[in-house]
Amino acid sequence: MKKITLQYFAVLREQAGCSEEHLATAATTPAELYEEVRVRHGFTLPLSMLRVAVNEEFRDWSSPLEANDRVVFIPPVAGG
């Protein structure tokens, strides 16, 4: 298990009920991590509609996750 910091924006923040959480996870990729929190928080958006940034850089969903990574899930927003 590794400790990571997760940050949520927009509809994910609403559905998670928080903008940030620290958690210990066995997930090895952002995709696995999203599936884990999607089930727990009841996120409605599929992974294909989101982007993920790790340590302030956009990454592939299959890139490796390391301990102490800062992960941000970003939904597209369109309000103007």
């Binding site: 940050q7 924006f9 927009a10 509809v11 923040r13 609403e14 903008s19 009841g42 996120f43 409605t44 958006l45 599929p46 992974l47 294909s48 509609m49 982007r51 940034a53 302030e56 850089e57 956009f58 941000v72 970003i74 939904p75 597209p76 927003v77 369109a78 309000g79 103007g80």
Partner: protein
């Protein structure tokens, strides 16, 4: 004698007087500023002046030139000390010679007030108690003093002819860009670039209003305003360019009228219609850049495609409640476009919730101001940012994340067929008085709301299937393609979006209930 100069030595007033002497002049007015022994209740021992010389001299010269033009005086000059000064020493000198005394006094007053307001000079006060502190000279001037002078000179009373008798030049009211020209990154050359520059602004709403105001106010020479909407009462809290008297009028038209008051010299083109893939190409071809202030994905991606095809920079922003996203596209081989980041353009209505999204005015205002800043940097030829990024702002928690974005190798950036909405929403929506009537028409009713929504509001008996949108989107559930379906959700937003998506995937008979369950009074 230079119109404006700094001196490290005591000011030679006799030399100044000599330089301004002219047999055609009947009056000579001077002002001397001295180092006094107190300021704001504190005893002052001595002063130290420091200036950003290159910039300050240019601004000072401009002020003297303005005074000569405004008041029609013959000669004027100003000298300011820098370095250490003792009590009683002269810190600044202004001299004006003219035909008559009135304009000499006025020009002299104008010069000293403007110098104190506009010239970057800092004053360090050394107090008798041993303490010291820097004071920006702008704070020393009496606010409003010079404003009334300038206003008086610039706007003679209606019907009053040129006041030749008093030597006052008639000046048309016009924006004065001095405070931005004073920036080394702008300068006269930058102001010329802005004046020669142009921007197309898509959307005149929460983001577009500050973008339009700041681009017009900065002196951008030509601005295109695209918005097909009318001003609504619910717009005003975040679009304060408009007033209650504008409700029901075209936003683009009202905006252009207001912006002309900000800069009468600029040109404003009104496009009071919705931007789409076709008209965007025609319009954007005539501008230097585009600022996307739209409120829907299909417009944003059309703006992106037009910018990529035409090789024009684009400044994107979007807001959601207290959050905003900001991204700049530059037509460079190493720069990502919107599709690099979002390979699948999101379908409007599928992201977010069905409830009316709320927003506080300062959120789009902040993002719009940043868009205007990015656009001005592009027009000025300044570096926009060190590397491409999506900036994500949370104005409730006050966090700003800069997420570095790279070009997506899978996105070729090459001109592509512009996406158009293949299916008219009108062909997707059906209205029914109640669910029983819908069911009687032979359609299978599919409730796509999430389980927690159904818990509080469950129209028993009529709904045949419950397939949450979230499950459908991630492929955990699917509708058999051969059926005839009526999708229902709370307000008909998500069901319409999903119906459009399923139709484009080959479902022949998928419809959306207009207004959702709220409309059938379940």
């Amino acid at each position: 004698m230079q119109p404006f100069a700094f001196s490290t030595l005591p000011i030679d007033t006799a030399r100044g007087r000599e330089a301004l002497a002219d047999p055609a002049c009947g009056g000579y007015a001077t002002f001397e500023g001295w180092v006094r022994d107190h300021n704001e209740g504190r005893a002052v021992r001595r002063l130290e002046y420091e200036a950003y010389a290159a910039l300050a001299e240019r601004e000072g010269e401009r002020i003297v030139a303005e005074a000569i033009a405004r008041y029609g005086v013959q000669h004027a000059a100003c000298v300011h000390r820098i370095g250490d000064l003792d009590l009683g020493e002269m810190a600044v000198w202004v001299g004006v010679s003219s035909r008559h005394r009135a304009e000499a006094f006025a020009a002299c007053r104008y010069i000293i007030d403007e110098v104190k307001h506009r010239v970057p000079i800092w004053k360090k006060e050394h107090y008798v108690d041993g303490d010291s502190g820097w004071v920006n000279c702008e704070r020393c001037a009496q606010p409003g003093d010079h404003e009334s002078h300038a206003g008086h000179a610039a706007t003679p009373a209606a019907g009053q002819p040129h006041d030749h008798e008093h030597g006052r030049a008639h000046v048309h009211p016009a924006p004065d860009f001095a405070r931005q020209v004073a920036l080394p990154e702008v300068g006269d050359a930058g102001q010329q670039r802005l004046r020669a520059g142009s921007a197309l602004v898509i959307g005149a709403g929460g983001l577009g209003v500050p973008v339009l105001q700041y681009l017009a106010a900065a002196g951008v020479g030509r601005i295109g305003i695209v918005d097909g909407d009318l001003v609504e009462a619910s717009n005003l809290h975040r679009q304060p360019l408009y007033g209650v008297a504008d409700i029901g009028k075209s936003k683009a038209t009202v905006a252009a009228a207001r912006l002309r008051q900000l800069n009468p010299e600029a040109t404003f083109a009104v496009h009071a219609e919705r931007a789409d893939a076709r008209n965007l190409i025609d319009w954007l071809a005539r501008y230097d850049l585009v600022v996307d202030c739209s409120d829907n994905f299909s417009t944003k991606f059309s703006v992106n495609d037009a910018a990529v095809i035409l090789g024009k920079p684009a400044v994107f922003a979007s807001v959601y409640q207290y959050e905003g996203q900001l991204q700049v596209y530059l037509p460079r081989a190493d720069w990502p476009c919107l599709r690099c980041l979002w390979p699948e353009a999101p379908r409007d209505g599928l992201v977010g919730n069905c409830a009316q999204a709320g927003v506080l005015g300062p959120v789009p205002a902040a993002l719009g101001a940043m868009q205007a800043m990015q656009a001005l940097k592009i027009l000025l030829g300044l570096p926009v940012e060190s590397a491409p990024a999506l900036h994500v702002f949370d104005l409730l928690g006050m966090h700003w994340r800069t997420l570095r974005a790279a070009r997506n190798p899978a996105c070729d950036h090459s001109p592509r067929e512009l996406q158009t909405d293949a299916i008219d929403p009108a062909a997707l929506e059906i209205a029914y008085p109640d669910l029983a009537a819908a069911r009687a028409s032979g359609l299978t009713l599919v409730d796509i709301r999430e389980p927690w929504e159904r818990a509080t509001d469950n129209p028993a008996g009529q709904i045949e299937w419950h397939l949450p949108l979230s499950a459908l989107l991630r492929g955990a559930a699917a509708l058999p393609p051969e059926g005839r379906y009526l999708l229902v959700c709370a307000h008909g937003v998500r069901s319409l979006a999903l119906a459009g998506q399923l139709r484009s995937q080959g479902y022949p008979a998928v419809y959306s209930l207009v207004g959702g369950l709220a409309a059938v009074g379940s």
